[in-house]
C-alpha cells in the first residue's frame, strides 16, 4: 500500500474550489434542464406536425449521443459560428441541454398521467388554453414529476465531471491538475468519496419524498 495522507491535506484547498464550481454547474445546468425540458414536452404535445416532428427528432438524437462528445462539439465547433464559451459555461449548457431531453420525457409522463376528466372539466368551465395549463394541468403534473426530476439532479451531479475533459476546474479538474503537477494520485479518491457523500444522502431523501408525494 503506497498511500500518503499529506497529499490529501495538500489537495484540500483546491478541492473546495472544485466543489464550488461543480455546485455552480449543477445549479445552472439544472435550471436549463428543467425549463428547456418543459418547452420540449409542450412542443411534443403540439397538434402541428411541423413542430412536433423536429422536436422529437432532435431530442431523440441528443439523448442517444454521449454528453462528452456534445461538450466537445459545444467547445470546439460552436465558437466557429457563434459565441465562445468558457469551459464552465460550456459544461452548464451541455449538461442543461443533454438532460433537458430526459426531463422532457418526465414531464410528458407527468402530463399524460393527469386524468382525462381534468381536461374535460377545464373545457366544461370554458377555461382558456393558458388557464387550463397553468391552473389545472401543471399543478397536478408537478407532484408526479418532482421525484423523477430530483433523480436527474443527482444524475447530473454524477455526470458533471465530464466538464474536466474540456478544461473546467470542477472537483475532477482540480484533482487532475493537482495530480499532474505533483505526480501524486491520492486526490482522485477524495473526489470519488465526495460524490458518494453528496449523492447517497440525496437519493435517500429523494426516496422518502417520493413515498410521500406519489403514494
Amino acid at each position: 500500500m503506497n498511500w500518503n495522507w499529506s497529499h490529501v491535506d495538500d489537495f484540500m484547498p483546491l478541492f473546495w474550489d472544485g466543489v464550488e464550481l461543480t455546485l455552480q454547474a449543477l445549479f445552472f445546468g439544472t435550471l436549463i434542464a428543467f425549463s428547456l425540458g418543459l418547452v420540449w414536452a409542450i412542443a411534443q404535445r403540439s397538434e402541428k406536425k411541423w413542430i412536433r416532428w423536429p422536436v422529437t427528432a432532435v431530442t431523440e438524437f441528443i439523448r442517444s449521443t454521449p454528453l462528452l462528445v456534445q461538450l466537445f462539439f459545444l467547445f470546439y465547433v460552436v465558437p466557429q459560428w457563434g459565441p465562445s464559451m468558457s469551459p464552465l459555461t460550456t459544461g452548464i449548457v451541455g449538461l442543461g441541454l443533454h438532460y433537458s431531453t430526459y426531463t422532457s420525457e418526465v414531464y410528458r409522463a407527468g402530463i399524460e398521467g393527469v386524468p382525462a376528466g381534468q381536461w374535460e372539466a377545464a373545457t366544461a368551465l370554458s377555461l382558456s388554453r393558458r388557464r387550463t395549463w397553468t391552473s389545472v394541468i401543471l399543478p397536478q403534473a408537478v407532484r408526479r414529476v418532482i421525484p423523477a426530476l430530483g433523480n436527474y439532479v443527482i444524475i447530473m451531479l454524477k455526470e458533471s465531471p465530464q466538464m474536466a475533459a474540456i478544461g473546467a476546474l470542477d472537483m475532477l479538474g482540480q484533482a487532475q491538475g493537482y495530480s499532474q503537477a505533483t505526480f501524486t494520485y491520492e486526490a482522485i479518491s477524495v473526489v470519488g468519496v465526495a460524490f458518494i457523500v453528496i449523492a447517497y444522502p440525496a437519493s435517500v431523501l429523494l426516496r422518502a419524498l417520493e413515498r410521500r408525494l406519489v403514494r
Binding site: 456534445q70 465547433v77 443527482i154 475532477l172 429523494l206
Partner: protein
C-alpha cells in the same frame, strides 16, 4: 478530412467502441444477475450487502471511478493493467449495479403465486429461479436493459479520457492533427446515434423471441418507436421502484 485518416483512426475506433460496449455489457450482465437475485433473498443481511453494492455505485460518478481504477489503483496496490481493462472494469461494475436493480424489479414483479406453485411442486429454490421466476421475469427486463445498453454505449466515450483509442479518442486526435472540428464531431455524433439505433433493433428482436418463449404476444412496433422503451422498471429515469 482525408479518407486516409478515417480509415486509419476512425474505423479502428468504431471497433474499439463496440468491443468496450460488449465487454462492459457482458461484465455488467454477469454481475447483475447474482446481485439482483441476492437482493430478493430471505435473509436481511444478504439483501443488505447486495443492496449496498447497488447504492454505492449508484452514488458514484462513473468517470471519477474510471480515473480511480486507471490511475489510483495501480500505484497504490502496485499492479498495472491496460487502460482498456480499466475502462471495461469501471463501466461493467457501474452498469452492473444499475442492471441489478432491473433484475430485482423484474423478479419482484413475478406474481407470488408462481413462486408458491413452485414450492407446492417441491422445487428447490434454484429450480424455482431457473424454471419459473427468471423465464417469466426475463421479457420484462429487456426494454429497460435496452435503455441501459444505450446509456452504456454513451458511457463508453469516457474511456477516451483514459487513453483508450475508441471513436471519441480518434475524433479528438483528428481534431488535433487536422484542426477541423465541425465535420469530425458531427460525424462522431451521427456514428453514436447509428450505433444506438442498431443496438435497439437488436434488443427488440431479442424481446420478441423472449416473449414468444413464455407465450406472451409480441407487440407490433414502427421503425423509430421505442428508441427509448417505456417500461415499468426504469432505473435510469425514476428512482428505480417497480410500480
Amino acid at each position: 478530412m482525408s479518407s486516409e485518416f478515417f480509415g486509419n483512426w476512425f474505423l479502428p475506433g468504431i471497433w474499439i467502441t463496440l468491443q468496450v460496449t460488449f465487454l462492459s455489457a457482458a461484465l455488467a450482465f454477469v454481475i447483475a444477475f447474482p446481485i439482483g437475485v441476492l437482493r430478493t433473498n430471505r435473509l436481511w443481511i444478504v439483501r443488505f450487502l447486495a443492496g449496498a453494492y447497488f447504492e454505492i455505485f449508484r452514488s458514484t460518478s462513473s468517470l471519477v471511478f474510471m480515473y480511480w481504477i486507471a490511475f489510483t489503483v495501480p500505484p497504490v496496490f502496485g499492479i498495472s493493467f491496460q487502460p482498456m481493462f480499466a475502462g471495461v472494469l469501471a463501466l461493467g461494475i457501474t452498469y452492473g449495479a444499475y442492471a441489478s436493480e432491473i433484475v430485482r424489479g423484474a423478479l419482484a414483479a413475478v406474481p407470488p403465486a408462481q413462486r408458491e406453485a413452485g414450492i407446492a411442486l417441491n422445487f428447490t429454490p434454484f429450480q424455482r429461479l431457473r424454471r419459473i421466476e427468471l423465464p417469466q421475469a426475463w421479457p420484462e427486463m429487456i426494454p429497460p436493459f435496452n435503455n441501459l445498453l444505450i446509456e452504456l454505449l454513451k458511457g463508453t466515450s469516457l474511456v477516451s479520457l483514459i487513453a483508450v483509442a475508441d471513436m471519441t479518442f480518434a475524433g479528438d486526435l483528428l481534431r488535433l492533427v487536422t484542426n477541423e472540428s465541425a465535420p469530425i464531431y458531427t460525424l462522431l455524433l451521427v456514428l453514436y446515434f447509428v450505433l444506438a439505433f442498431v443496438l435497439t433493433r437488436g434488443m427488440r428482436l431479442l424481446e420478441r423471441h423472449a416473449k414468444k418463449r413464455v407465450g406472451q404476444a409480441p407487440e407490433k412496433t414502427g421503425l423509430f418507436s421505442g428508441m427509448r422503451a417505456k417500461s415499468s422498471i426504469d432505473v435510469v429515469a425514476g428512482t428505480g421502484a417497480a410500480k
